[in-house]
C-alpha cells in the first residue's frame, strides 16, 4: 500500500509538468495581454510593466523561470492585477475560505444525500421513494445561480435568519454551504439509490439474510458498504471542485474564496494566477482521486494495492 501511494504521488510530477506546459502555452497563445486597458497605455509604459514582471524575456525562459521558482522556492509568482500580492498570498488568503465552505457543503451533501438515497432504495416505489427522488430531481435541476438568490430572499430578506452575504461568522456560511451542498446531495442521493437497488439484489445479500443476520447488519455492513463504491468515485472530483472554490456561489454570497480567481485571472490575462489556480486544482484532483482509490480497498475486500 505504501509503495502504491508513493508511486501515485510520484506520478503527480509528470502530470503537473504536462498540465503546466499546456496551460502556459494556452495562456500565452490567447490574444490580448495583461496590460491591455480600455485606456490604452503608451508602449513605453507597457515595456516597463513587462520588464517588471519578466515578460520581456523569451517565452521559453519565462516558463523555465516559472517552474524553477515553484520547484526551488515554492513561489508561484506575482499577481499582475493586485500589485504587492503574490499567487502564494492568494492561496494563503483564499484557499482556506473555499476549503471551509467546500467541506461544509460536502458534509451537507453526504448528510442529506446518503440517507435520502438509502431510504428511496429501501422503500422503492413508495411515497418515500417518490418524495426522495422528487427532492433529488429538484436539487439537480435548480442550479446555484437560482438557488442562491432564492435562499437570500427567504432566509435573509423575509425571515432575517441569516445575513445576505459576506464571510467571517458561522451564520454567513450557512446559506452558501446549502446552495453548494444541496445540488451535490441530490447527485449523491440518486447515485446511492441506484447503487443500493443493484446491490440489494446481489447473491451475497441473499446469503447474508439466509445466514440469519439482522436486516440492519445486512444493510449497513454488506449492502451499504458496497453501494458506496460508485458514490466514493464521484466524491473525488466533487471534493476537488468544492474545496478549490466555486465561482457562482462565491459571487452570489460575496465569499472571499478561490473560485473567482479561476475566472477573473483568465479575463485579466493574469498568467501566474491562471497557472497557479489550474495547478492547484490538478493537485487537489489527483490527491482526491488517490484518496478515493484507497478507500476502495476498505470498501471492497477484493481490491488490493501493491
Amino acid at each position: 500500500m505504501g509503495r502504491y501511494i508513493i508511486r501515485r504521488l510520484l506520478l503527480l510530477i509528470p502530470v503537473l509538468f504536462f498540465i503546466s506546459v499546456i496551460t502556459f502555452a494556452l495562456a500565452h497563445a490567447v490574444p490580448g495581454g495583461p496590460f491591455d486597458r480600455e485606456k490604452p497605455l503608451p508602449p513605453e509604459v507597457i515595456a516597463n510593466l513587462e520588464k517588471y514582471y519578466g515578460l520581456d524575456q523569451p517565452v521559453w525562459k519565462q516558463y523555465v523561470d516559472y517552474v524553477t521558482d515553484i520547484a526551488f522556492r515554492f513561489d508561484f509568482g506575482p499577481s499582475y492585477r493586485s500589485r504587492g500580492r503574490s499567487v502564494n498570498d492568494i492561496f494563503a488568503d483564499h484557499l482556506p475560505v473555499s476549503a471551509q465552505l467546500g467541506l461544509a457543503a460536502i458534509v451537507i451533501a453526504l448528510v442529506i444525500g446518503l440517507p435520502l438515497g438509502i431510504l428511496s432504495a429501501l422503500k422503492q416505489n413508495t411515497l418515500w421513494d417518490y418524495l426522495g427522488m422528487g427532492l433529488a430531481i429538484f436539487g439537480v435541476s435548480v442550479p446555484a445561480i437560482v438557488l442562491g438568490p432564492i435562499l437570500i430572499l427567504i432566509f435573509a430578506l423575509a425571515l432575517h435568519w441569516f445575513p445576505v452575504a459576506g464571510w467571517g461568522t458561522p451564520a454567513k456560511m450557512v446559506m452558501p454551504a446549502f446552495a453548494l451542498g444541496l445540488r451535490e446531495s441530490a447527485i449523491i442521493a440518486r447515485l446511492t439509490r441506484a447503487s443500493m437497488l443493484q446491490v440489494i439484489r446481489e447473491d451475497y445479500i441473499r446469503t447474508a439474510r439466509a445466514k440469519g443476520l439482522s436486516e440492519r447488519v445486512v444493510m449497513v455492513r454488506h449492502a451499504l458498504k458496497n453501494a458506496f463504491i460508485p458514490v466514493a468515485t464521484i466524491l473525488g472530483p466533487m471534493f476537488a471542485a468544492l474545496l478549490t472554490g466555486t465561482f457562482i456561489v462565491e459571487q452570489i454570497f460575496a465569499i472571499p474564496g478561490m473560485g473567482k480567481y479561476f475566472i477573473t485571472s483568465i479575463t485579466n490575462r493574469d498568467y501566474p494566477v491562471v497557472m497557479g489556480t489550474i495547478l492547484l486544482y490538478a493537485v487537489f484532483l489527483v490527491l482526491a482521486n488517490l484518496a478515493v482509490d484507497l478507500t476502495y480497498a476498505f470498501l471492497d475486500p477484493r481490491i488490493r494495492y501493491t
Binding site: 491591455d36 486597458r37 513605453e44 509604459v45 432575517h160 479575463t267
Partner: protein, 547 residues
C-alpha cells in the same frame, strides 16, 4: 415704564437668542457600511488606476489640489496656493504645514505620529512614478513634467533630472516641458500624492498593508482582508477632522450588484448602486424610489468608426449612422438610468467641453437627415452598401445596447448591420491594433480638462488613433488640440476645443457619442451625503443620523 420695557425686551431677546442656539444636538451614528464592488487592486497612489483604488487613496492620502465635487474646479488641498511663471513652465506650490504622516496600529488601535508631510515627499512620489522600475501605469500622465518621459522610457537614468524639486520643506516646484493650464489638476492627481519613503523602503510592495502603511489623509487603514472587507478609521488629527463625523468606515467587497442590493434592503449596506434589472421595481416602490439618486457622471459611451474601412471611409455614411441612433429611446427603454443624450465626446463638467454650450449643435437623432446623407453618399436606403460590422466586448449590457442600435439603424436608415463580440482582452487588442468598422468604447475623466479627452484619444500621433483618422480635418484637429494644450488663456482654449469637438463628432463624425453616464445610487435616508460631479466621492464629509 419705557426703561423697564426696554430691559424686559432685551432680556427676552437674549433669552431667545440663547434658546435658539441650544438646538437639540444632532444624534449621529459613527459607523457607515459601504461597498467596494471589487477588491482594490492597490492602495499605492503611484500605482492606482481604477476607481476603487483611487477611492482608497483619497481616504488615506492628500494631493496638492483636489477637484471640487460640485464645480469640478481645481481647488487647493495639501497646497494652500500655487503660482505659475510667466512662460507657464514653472509651477510653484506652497504646502500646508499641519499635515503629518501617521501609522495606525490595528493591534493596539492607536495611531503613531511619524513626521510632517513635506515637499520632499512629493518629490519622492513623482520620481518614484517616473522610475521605470516602479512600472507605474500612469507614469505617462507625468510626461508633461520635464525629464519624466526620458527617465520613464530609459533614455536617462538620472532621477535628479526630473523637473520637480523641494524649494524648502513646504514649497515644491515643478518644471514642465510645455505650458499646461490644467497642470494644477495633474499635480493633485492621486499619482502625484505624497508617499512616505520609509515604509516603502522597509516593506516594498507590502507597504500598503495595515500596520505598515503611513497615511496623511482623513482616515487610517485598519483592516484589509483581501476580497472580503476593508475598514478605515477616522484620523482625528487630520487638519479638517472637526468636519469628519464618521469614525468607522466598513467597506464590504461585493461584486454582484444584486447581492449588494439585497444587503442594502436588509440594512447591511447604507449605500449601493442598484442593479439595472431592479430599476423598474425601485422606481415603482414608494420607499426605494425616494432613496434613488440619479446624478451626472464623468464618462461618455460612444461608438467609434474606423475611417479607413469602407464604407466607413465615407464621412456621409458615418454622419448618417450617427443621425440614425435614437439615443433618448435607448436611454428610456434599455438603460433606464436617467443617462443624458451625448452630442460631444467630453461630458459636461469637463473644462472645454461644448456639451452645455448653447451655441453647440452636435449630431442629433434625425432619421430623415440620415437617409438623405446616405442617398448623397450613393447608397439610397442603404442599397449597395458594403457589409458593416458593429463590435463590442462581450457583456449583456453592451449586447442590449448594440441590439437596440442595430434595430434603430434598421428602422430609421434601412441598414442591416452585423453584430459581433469578443472577450474583453481580445477585444481591446482588436480595437487597439485594427479596429472593426464600428466599435464600442467609453472614456472617463482622469482630470477635468478636454486635453484628457480629445488629445489623448484621437490625436493622430499622440494617441493610438483607433479610428485611423487622417486627412485635412485630422491635421486641423491635431493643431487645435495641441494649441489648446499649450495655451494659458481659458477663453481661447474653450474656443479651440469647441472646434476640435466639432471636427471629431460632426464634420468628420469620427465617433458617434451615445450617452453621458449618470451616477445612479441608492442611499439610506439617514445618510447625509454629497453627490460628486468630479468622479470621486468625499465619503469623509458624510454624516449618518441615528436610525
Amino acid at each position: 415704564m419705557s426703561k423697564r420695557f426696554t430691559l424686559v425686551l432685551v432680556v427676552l431677546m437674549v433669552l431667545a437668542a440663547v434658546l435658539s442656539a441650544c438646538k437639540p444636538a444632532e444624534k449621529l451614528v459613527t459607523t457607515i457600511n459601504l461597498n467596494f464592488a471589487t477588491e482594490p487592486p492597490t492602495m499605492d497612489p503611484g500605482l492606482s488606476t481604477d476607481t476603487t483604488s483611487v477611492d482608497c487613496v483619497n481616504m488615506l492620502f492628500m494631493g496638492l489640489s483636489r477637484l471640487d465635487i460640485e464645480t469640478v474646479e481645481t481647488k487647493p488641498y495639501l497646497a494652500t496656493e500655487w503660482s505659475v511663471s510667466a512662460d507657464g513652465l514653472v509651477w510653484t506650490f506652497k504646502m500646508r504645514k499641519d499635515v503629518f504622516w501617521w501609522r495606525w496600529d490595528p493591534a493596539t488601535q492607536k495611531a503613531e505620529k511619524k513626521r510632517p508631510v513635506v515637499a520632499g515627499d512629493i518629490v519622492y512620489a513623482v520620481r518614484r512614478v517616473a522610475n521605470p522600475e516602479t512600472a507605474s501605469d500612469y507614469a505617462y500622465v507625468d510626461y508633461i513634467i520635464k525629464g519624466v518621459q526620458a527617465v520613464n522610457t530609459g533614455e536617462s537614468t538620472d532621477l535628479e533630472s526630473v523637473g520637480v524639486r523641494a524649494v524648502d520643506d513646504y514649497t515644491v516646484e515643478f518644471t514642465l516641458t510645455q505650458p499646461a493650464g490644467y497642470f494644477a489638476a495633474i499635480a493633485g492627481m492621486w499619482t502625484n500624492n505624497p508617499v512616505p519613503r520609509e515604509p516603502i523602503e522597509q516593506f516594498g510592495d507590502k507597504w500598503t498593508e495595515p500596520g505598515n502603511i503611513w497615511t496623511c489623509g482623513p482616515t487610517y487603514l485598519d483592516v484589509w482582508e483581501h476580497e472580503n472587507k476593508v475598514v478605515m478609521k477616522k484620523n482625528p488629527n487630520w487638519f479638517d477632522a472637526k468636519n469628519v463625523f464618521i469614525e468607522t468606515y466598513n467597506w464590504a467587497i461585493v461584486n454582484d450588484d444584486a447581492t449588494a442590493m439585497a444587503m442594502y434592503e436588509n440594512g447591511e449596506l447604507d449605500v449601493t448602486p442598484p442593479p439595472l434589472s431592479d430599476m423598474d421595481r425601485i422606481k415603482a416602490d414608494p420607499t426605494l424610489s425616494k432613496e434613488l439618486y440619479i446624478g451626472p457622471g464623468t464618462c461618455t459611451y460612444y461608438y467609434g468608426f474606423n475611417t479607413s474601412k469602407p464604407p466607413l471611409d465615407n464621412v456621409k455614411v458615418r454622419q448618417a449612422l450617427s443621425h440614425g441612433i435614437d439615443r433618448q429611446k435607448l436611454i428610456d427603454t434599455v438603460l433606464k438610468g436617467g443617462q443624458k443624450v451625448a452630442t460631444t465626446f467630453a461630458c459636461p463638467g469637463v473644462f472645454g467641453t461644448p456639451a452645455e454650450d448653447p451655441n453647440w449643435k452636435g449630431i442629433e437623432f434625425d432619421p430623415a437627415k440620415g437617409k438623405a446623407l446616405l442617398a448623397e453618399a450613393g447608397y439610397p436606403d442603404g442599397k449597395g452598401l458594403a457589409e458593416i460590422t458593429l463590435m463590442f466586448n462581450t457583456s449583456a449590457g453592451h449586447q442590449r445596447i448594440a441590439e437596440f442600435i442595430q434595430q434603430s439603424w434598421k428602422e430609421n436608415l434601412g441598414l442591416d448591420i452585423k453584430l459581433a463580440n469578443q472577450e474583453w482582452a481580445v477585444y481591446l487588442k482588436t480595437v487597439n491594433t485594427d479596429a472593426p468598422q464600428i466599435y464600442r468604447m467609453g472614456w472617463c475623466l482622469d482630470y477635468p480638462d478636454e486635453n484628457n479627452w480629445v488629445l489623448e484619444n484621437f490625436h493622430t500621433t499622440k494617441s493610438l488613433n483607433n479610428p485611423k483618422w487622417s486627412g485635412a480635418n485630422a491635421v486641423e484637429f491635431d493643431r487645435l488640440t495641441e494649441e489648446a494644450a499649450l495655451s494659458n488663456d481659458p477663453a481661447k482654449r474653450k474656443e479651440l476645443y469647441f472646434k476640435a469637438e466639432q471636427l471629431l463628432t460632426v464634420t468628420d463624425a469620427v465617433i458617434a457619442p451615445i450617452y453621458y453616464y449618470t451616477s445612479v445610487v441608492m442611499t439610506k435616508p439617514y445618510v447625509e451625503r454629497t453627490y460628486s460631479k468630479a468622479g470621486h466621492q468625499e465619503f469623509w464629509y458624510w454624516k449618518v443620523q441615528a436610525h
